[in-house]
Each structure stands twice: as structure tokens, then as C-alpha cells.
């Protein structure tokens, strides 16, 4: 029997959030001044939460490992943010946004949370505009929207290809206003290394000053974790180099359950790896698939020749190309969801049809779009019998207007001109839907410990739709947590300041310093990156886009072996009492080496294919859908929440059964 209580309010789904807000306990403004809150992470979720909590009157301490809160990786989000404003008059509504998100998540998210997300989505846009976020506008001066994958309406607001940056700078400006007022105390270049519990409640953290190496104690009445996802468990991902799971993993080890670690989004349109030295992968917005056609050579000999540099893609005739998404999925073609596009690319590359020297790439070709747009432009501008060159030039102009910054970015990295030769793309780890389990209040299984944004699990189910990550981060931080946390803190108005000179803080600080001292004194033989790369390879090969029982069992054993070797052989140069990037990495990789094993264990337990999680054992066996992912609602319509019990392989599974009262469960089809 599960011990999980999601605390979802009673009543019809449309009224839950309103009823909830009407009935929770509030903290009066005078008492808020006596309450401290720690927020770890300053991305969209953490930044907006810190600003709002400070504005409400709480004393906030905010932490980030970067040199400024403005640099959190939310800044790299390109495409946009969804909101059910229905400004386009195309029939959008809160219900539709809710429905699309639950369906897109392959029916593995919690209905009540998603509906609340949709309800507050419109407010996010109002808020951001008031803050001076320069969203794109039309000539009438009103906000412009665009369409994104997996939905039938235009509800995505954007600021060129830098929406994440502009929203984060908005949250950063709101934080700055509160820092100037003294309501937020900001700790840049600080990393949270553990949480401190007093009488079972989260009451503080141990953090390391990354400049001086000093270990610090910080107390509070509640702790909020907003530290993003764990995609870097794969070593190569679109995450920032410093993105890590340490805060999330440390709270897991202190009692917070970790939910659905196997749900990972592998994004199909990233710039491929070029060699073993590669440190990260760069995402290209999926909007490119609107005009690009994806293909590999139809003959394996041509692929071989390309891999050896003897043949160019433009030399392959039309009939010798396999536009495999258009062939396999005639209805959606190149616009199938991210997971489907990613798996199809991997299958062909595994079979030897890949391009690039590594054989791990497919083409994304704009030649047809350039010709189509060129002809259209020629007609519009009254060119009769235009030359082929003229058409190409006109078409390239249209493509440049739509995707200019992406083409330029590609050219800088790959040193090839994508107007003249097809782009090469390959899937890469991008986002993790799994994360720390939270209830409707966004509280973890530890009282007073909250988790928001990508770091928690709740809203995206097994797969996230485009432009929904920014929405969730800001919804949690601006409009959800500031309400829900008050209900908990109303019990703390008489508590007074939490002391840090207590046995509880002593004990956790000792754990932290012991581990740091171990690293700098270990004098092993191999660098931290050596182990991280090996972990990444196991994760990618056996817990990547397609998973099976045998591979997952092997992965668990291999990760355990790498972890054991890591603790014997890791080499960390330098001292503990100084800026030491290798020491920072060592702590993060040590945690990834545990998380990776739980990830594989979770994937092994879930013997169904859903969203980003594809089990080779759970596919449609015959008919038109043969080989496609097969979800199993009878046995797996639950959230897997893992309780820490020492070794990751010993973790205990708790199930939160998912109920779908407002949406009928359907199998996805893109044929």
C-alpha cells in the first residue's frame, strides 16, 4: 500500500485550485517578516519564487553556483512559452492546454497539477509583459503567437529565438528589486551540498562557498529546491556544463522520494558529436522541422562513402534518398513528436545508414523548402521565367528570415553552410520529466522541503511538449508555491529563528566535509571526467532512446562497478579551501553515479513504452502500428516514487496511482 498522499483537493477539476486557495491558512504580513525561506537555484522557477516570496514579506536567501543568478540554464531556452490566452481566436482554452499537456505527457502526469498549470498560464504572460519582457508583437502592437509540435492551436509566445533568456532576465530583474530592498540575500557562487532536518522538518542547508571553499550553515523555516534536471547523467546533453543533480539527490538521500527517473526527453534536432573531446551538445529549435526534410541515403554503400568523406549529400540523387519519417509516418511526416523522431534516427544510424564521420547523424534538408518558397516569391514579385539561381536566392531569403539565427549558429559550430548543403542532426538528451516527488503543494515527502520547476516530476508526465518548460517554471515560482508554502508556514509563526549551532547542523556539516576531504586526499589515478564519460556511455547505450531488460540489468551492474572504481581511483587536484572546479565536479559526478543506477532500475521496473521511455518488449506486435510504442495503462498508470535505502538498487518503490477523471486515455498514433 502506498504511503504517498498527493493532497489533491476534492471537487471538479476546474474548481480545485480556486477552492484550495480559498481554504488554506495564510500568514499575516507582520509574521512573514519573522520567517526565513531558502531557495536553491535561480532559474525560472527559483528566480521567480525568490522574488515573489520576498515581495510577500518573507526573508529569502537565494543560492546559485553561477557567478550571477542571471546565468541559470533556463536562459538557453529558445522557442517560447505556452499560455492559453486564445489571442489568436483559434478556440484555445485552459481545458485545451490542460488536455494537450496530459496527452502529450502520454497520460503519466497528475491531472490536477496540470490543470492548475493551464489556469495560471495566462497570468504569466501578463506578469512578464508588465515586467518589460519584450515579446514579439504584430504591426498592430499586440502580442504575436506561433504554433509548436503536438498541438492544433497557436499559443506560444516568444521573444525571437531567446525566449528563455528574456523570461529569466525578467525574473532576475524582479529578484534585483528585492535584493536592493534587502528582502533577498543573494549567494552567488555557492553550491548546496546537503539539507539539514530538525525534528523531521527541513530547516536549513549546508553550502560551499565556491570562491573560498568555506563550508557554511544556513537555516530557514522552509527550503525550496529549484535546481533543474539531471540530463548531465548522460555526460553529453544540451544542459549547461554545471547543471547537476546534487541538490535533488541529496534531499532524496535525506528522505525525499524520487519519481519517474527514467522519463527523459531526447531531442531529435541537435548538432551531432564531432569527436571524443566533445563536451556538450547544442540544440537547434525543433521549429526547423516545419521546413526541413529528414533523410539518410537509401543505399548503405552511399552512407559508408559519406562517412569516409568520399561522397557529398548533394551528389545523391533524389531516388536514392530515404525520407524515412515521411515514409513511415505519412500523416505527421517530419513533424512527428520528439521521441518518435529521435528513435527513428537512432534505428537507422545503428543499422549503418548514418552520415558524418561518426555515422551518428542524419540529414535535415532545406533544399525543397528553398525551392518552394523561391517559386512562391517569384510569383509574388512578378518574376516571369525566373532562373534557377533566382529562385534559390529568393527561397534562401525566406529561410533566412525564419531561421537565420539558427543557420548562423549551425554554421559556426559545424563550419558548413546549411543553405547549400543539408544540416546534420542527431538526438541528444535535453530535458528530464522525472524528478523529486511532490504533492499538490509542491512539497516533497520531507515536511518543509519543496521542489519546483524541472527538478520536480509532476506536470509533464512521460514526455514534455515544446514551450511548456518555461511555463511550468514560472507557474511554480510566481503563482503556485507562494500560495502553497504559506499554508505550511502558518504553523511556524511562533517558531523564531532556527539556530545553526545544533547537533543536527554539526552532523550534516561533518558528512559534507568528510566527503570533500576524501576527494582532495584520495590521490587516485583517473580524473573526474574519465568516470563521467564512462557513465554517460553506459547511460546512452543501454538507458537511452530504446531500452530492454537485458541492457538495463547490465547497465545497473556496470554503473555500480564504475561507482566503486570512482571511489577508489578518482583524482582531484588542488585543495578544499580554494576555488576548485575539479572538486565541484567530483561531488556532482559521485551523485550522478548513484542516480544513474536508480534511473536504470526505474526503467527496468516500467515494462511499458510511454513518452520518452521506450521498452523494446512493449511494442505493437502486428498491423499498421507494428513496432510502435505500446503503453500499458492497466499495469503502469502510476507514478514510481523511489525511497532511498542505501544502495540505489535497494530503493523501495511507492506507487501513486494516477486517476484520469476528465480525460479519456488513448494510444498515440502518428501514422
Amino acid at each position: 500500500m502506498s504511503v504517498l498522499d498527493s493532497k489533491v483537493p476534492e471537487g471538479p477539476i476546474k474548481d480545485k485550485w480556486t477552492t484550495y486557495k480559498d481554504n488554506i491558512n495564510l500568514v499575516n504580513p507582520a509574521n512573514k517578516r519573522n520567517i526565513d525561506i531558502i531557495v536553491v537555484g535561480t532559474g525560472l522557477a527559483g528566480g521567480s519564487a525568490a522574488a515573489t516570496l520576498a515581495e510577500q514579506g518573507y526573508n529569502v536567501k537565494a543560492f546559485c553556483y553561477q557567478d550571477s543568478p542571471r546565468r541559470a540554464h533556463s536562459i538557453a531556452a529558445q522557442g517560447g512559452i505556452n499560455a492559453a490566452k486564445n489571442y489568436m481566436g483559434d478556440g484555445d482554452s485552459n481545458y485545451r492546454l490542460f488536455y494537450d499537456t496530459v496527452k502529450g505527457g502520454d497520460y503519466r502526469s497528475r491531472e490536477a497539477n496540470v490543470h492548475r498549470l493551464a489556469e495560471v498560464s495566462g497570468n504569466i504572460i501578463d506578469q512578464c509583459v508588465a515586467q518589460g519582457v519584450p515579446f514579439a508583437r504584430d504591426y498592430g502592437g499586440l502580442l504575436d503567437n506561433r504554433s509548436f509540435g503536438g498541438v492544433l492551436v497557436s499559443r506560444t509566445f516568444y521573444a525571437k529565438g531567446q525566449t528563455g533568456q528574456q523570461l529569466l532576465l525578467g525574473a532576475y530583474s524582479a529578484m534585483n528589486r528585492q535584493i536592493a530592498r534587502g528582502k533577498i540575500e543573494m549567494f552567488n557562487r555557492h553550491e548546496m551540498l546537503d539539507v539539514v532536518k530538525v525534528d523531521g522538518k527541513a530547516r536549513g542547508i549546508i553550502a560551499r562557498n565556491l570562491i573560498s571553499g568555506e563550508i557554511e550553515r544556513h537555516s530557514a523555516h522552509a527550503v525550496v529546491i529549484a535546481t533543474g534536471g539531471y540530463g548531465n547523467v548522460y555526460f553529453l546533453s544540451t544542459n549547461a556544463m554545471g547543471s547537476n543533480a546534487t541538490a535533488a539527490w541529496k534531499i532524496h538521500k535525506k528522505g525525499a522520494y524520487f519519481a519517474n527517473p527514467c522519463y527523459t526527453q531526447i531531442h531529435p534536432t541537435c548538432i551531432p558529436r564531432s569527436g571524443d573531446y566533445q563536451s556538450k551538445l547544442t540544440l537547434m529549435s525543433e521549429s526547423l522541422r516545419n521546413d526541413g526534410r529528414i533523410w539518410v541515403p537509401a543505399n548503405i554503400e552511399d552512407s559508408k562513402a559519406i562517412q569516409q568523406g568520399k561522397l557529398k549529400p548533394t551528389e545523391i540523387a533524389e531516388e536514392n534518398r530515404d525520407y524515412y519519417l515521411e515514409r513511415k509516418y505519412p500523416a505527421f511526416g517530419n513533424l512527428v513528436p520528439r521521441d518518435v523522431a529521435s528513435r527513428a534516427a537512432k534505428e537507422l544510424c545503428d543499422a549503418g545508414y548514418g552520415v558524418n564521420a561518426t555515422g551518428e547523424a542524419v540529414y535535415l534538408d532545406f533544399a525543397a523548402a528553398i525551392e518552394r518558397y523561391g517559386n512562391e516569391q517569384a510569383k509574388i514579385h512578378g518574376h516571369h521565367n525566373p532562373s534557377k539561381e533566382k529562385i534559390t536566392a529568393l527561397g534562401e531569403g525566406v529561410i533566412e528570415e525564419k531561421y537565420g539565427n539558427l543557420f548562423q549558429m549551425y554554421e559556426k559550430i559545424a563550419a558548413e553552410n546549411p543553405y547549400k548543403t543539408p544540416m546534420m542532426i542527431y538526438p541528444a538528451t535535453h530535458y528530464t520529466m522525472g524528478g523529486v516527488w511532490v504533492d499538490y503543494n509542491l512539497m516533497t515527502t520531507v515536511p518543509g522541503l519543496y521542489c519546483i520547476g524541472e527538478a520536480n516530476f509532476s506536470d509533464h508526465g512521460a514526455n514534455r511538449l515544446g514551450a511548456s518548460a518555461l511555463m511550468q517554471g514560472l507557474a511554480d515560482g510566481y503563482f503556485v508555491l507562494p500560495y502553497t508554502i504559506g499554508d505550511y508556514l502558518s504553523d511556524d509563526i511562533r517558531t523564531g529563528k532556527i539556530a545553526t549551532d545544533t547537533p543536527e547542523f554539526d552532523a550534516v556539516e561533518k558528512e559534507v566535509t568528510d566527503r570533500i576531504n576524501f576527494f582532495v586526499n584520495n590521490k587516485g589515478t583517473k580524473s573526474v571526467d574519465h568516470f563521467h564519460k564512462r557513465l554517460g556511455k553506459v547511460m546512452w547505450d543501454k538507458v537511452g532512446m530504446a531500452r530492454n531488460e537485458k541492457g538495463l540489468k547490465e547497465a545497473m551492474a556496470e554503473i555500480k562497478a564504475i561507482r566503486e572504481e570512482f571511489w577508489k581511483e578518482v583524482k582531484v587536484p588542488g585543495d578544499a579551501n580554494e576555488m576548485n572546479p575539479e572538486l565541484e565536479k567530483a561531488g556532482r559526478v559521485a551523485d550522478f553515479l548513484e542516480l544513474g543506477e536508480l534511473f536504470a532500475k526505474d526503467a527496468l521496473d516500467r515494462n511499458e513504452s510511454c513518452g520518452g521511455h521506450y521498452r523494446e518488449e512493449s511494442v505493437v506486435k502486428e498491423g499498421e502500428q507494428k513496432g510502435e510504442a505500446l503503453r500499458n495503462d492497466k499495469d503502469y498508470a502510476y507514478v514510481s516514487a523511489w525511497e532511498y535505502k542505501g544502495e540505489p538498487s535497494d530503493a523501495i518503490l511507492h506507487k501513486e496511482e494516477l486517476e484520469f477523471k476528465d480525460i479519456e486515455l488513448k494510444q498515440r498514433s502518428y501514422k
Binding site: R71, V129, P134, L142, Q166, S173, I179, A180, E582
Partner: protein
């Protein structure tokens, strides 16, 4: 390719620094500059030396964390990119590359190539915001139409990533391009006009307190800015400042 690197090494803020020579071999032209630095650091770790500390995070040119003054240029030889987007194909076999931190009185060195840019944060805290509560009780986003032209211009100013290349490049270590960009973003939008006068006065005041120099219109900042922030923003800030000063 094989390269000689002359890298600024400095143990801490109070210590004396110096250029130290390193050799790296078999560097692929497809590597990014920071991946070349990763190779060097792996080499240093394996030979029991301390790796070079440098700031970096997103490695896709948007977070603004990476810095480095490479062969006398902020973010190195190419235009319109950050150091993390610089690739080794911009160099050739046998080259000697000088790698130094961003230098300015207001950006003290923390260690090796890492500098302290919190002065930028403090300038933003002095007025780089619109004083609106995050209560969600704002008016509808479309209640206030904003001309596409103004919105686009504000967006161009807002793309500043706060890396500090403008300061490092400027012979006066001036932060006018950075401050001008933020002042402009809000001055161009109706939401920002209410507090425009206070904002520009406070931000310029804070900029002076931090020890940034003055602008003498050489325009080097604009050339080295990875995001192409225009000098027009400095002119706009000066106009705003003059207007605000006259009002008193």
C-alpha cells in the same frame, strides 16, 4: 594542430599572477576553444599540475559566463560570438595563443582566468527593473499595445548577456554599453517610462561607484560585443540621463 598557450595563472585575488607556457598537441580544428582548454586541463591533471580555472557554463553563447581575453581580444578573434562558440579552426598549427582574464578595476581576478563581475549585478540592483509586484494582478498583456518597432528595438537592447566583453575591451573599462542596453530596453517600452528618470540616475551613479571608466566614443565595445549591442544605446542613455538631470 600543435599549439603553444601562454596562460595567465594567478592563485588568488591577492597573489601576483604571471603568464605560463603550455603545449597542447593533436588539437582538432572542430574542437571549440573551451574543449581545447578541457584537453589542457586533463593533461595537467595527469601530470600532477593544477588545472586552469576558467568560467564557463552553457557553452552555447547565451549564459554570458565565459570570458577570456584571447590574443588581445575579448572572446577571441571571431566576431559576434562568445569564447565558448569560438572554434579551433580559427587558429593554425604552430600558433602561440595568449589567454588572459577580462581585465578591469571593477572585475578583480578571483583565480587564473576567473574574474568577479558582481559589480554588474549591483548596477542592475540599483534600478534595472520595473517596480511591478509579482502578484499576478497585472492588467491583461494585450491591454497596452506597443509598436512593433519599439518592441523590436527593446528586444535588441535586451539581448545583452552581461558577459563584460565591452568593459574588458574598452581602454577606459567603461560599462556604458552594458548599462545603456538595460536603460534603453526599459526607456523604449511604456511600462518602463514611469521610473525612467530615477532608473538612469541610479544606474549611472552605481556604475561610477563601482569604478567603471567613462565613455570616450571609440566604439570598441560595439565591435567586440558578442550580441552586437549597438552604440545607439549609449547615446540613448546619455539623452535619458540629461533629461533626468534637467528635471532635477
Amino acid at each position: 594542430m600543435n599549439l603553444t598557450l601562454k596562460i595567465w595563472r594567478q592563485k588568488g585575488p591577492q597573489e601576483k599572477g604571471k603568464l605560463v607556457d603550455y603545449k597542447v598537441n593533436d588539437i582538432s580544428e572542430h574542437m571549440s576553444f573551451l574543449e581545447m582548454m578541457d584537453v589542457l586541463n586533463e593533461q595537467l591533471i595527469n601530470t600532477e599540475e593544477e588545472p586552469v580555472a576558467f568560467d564557463h557554463d552553457c557553452r552555447e553563447g547565451i549564459c554570458g559566463m565565459c570570458s577570456m581575453y584571447i590574443n588581445g581580444e575579448a572572446h577571441g578573434p571571431d566576431k559576434g560570438i562568445t569564447t565558448c562558440q569560438l572554434h579551433m579552426r580559427s587558429f593554425k598549427d604552430g600558433d602561440t595563443i595568449y589567454i588572459e582574464p577580462f581585465r578591469a578595476a571593477a572585475f578583480p581576478v578571483i583565480k587564473d582566468l576567473v574574474v568577479d563581475r558582481t559589480s554588474f549585478d549591483r548596477i542592475q540592483q540599483s534600478g534595472g527593473f520595473i517596480s511591478v509586484n509579482t502578484s499576478g494582478n497585472t492588467q491583461d498583456a494585450n491591454a497596452l499595445p506597443i509598436s512593433k518597432h519599439a518592441a523590436d528595438e527593446a528586444m535588441d537592447a535586451a539581448t545583452c548577456i552581461g558577459c563584460g566583453a565591452c568593459v574588458a575591451t574598452c581602454k577606459n573599462s567603461s560599462a556604458m554599453l552594458f548599462v545603456g542596453a538595460k536603460v534603453s530596453q526599459y526607456a523604449l517600452l511604456p511600462q518602463g517610462k514611469v521610473e525612467a528618470a530615477d532608473r538612469v540616475m541610479n544606474m549611472v551613479h552605481q556604475m561610477d561607484i563601482e569604478g567603471f571608466g567613462n565613455c570616450t566614443n571609440t566604439g570598441a565595445c560595439e565591435i567586440e560585443c558578442p550580441k552586437g549591442i549597438s552604440l545607439e544605446n549609449i547615446a540613448r542613455m546619455n539623452r535619458e540621463y540629461l533629461k533626468a538631470s534637467l528635471k532635477g
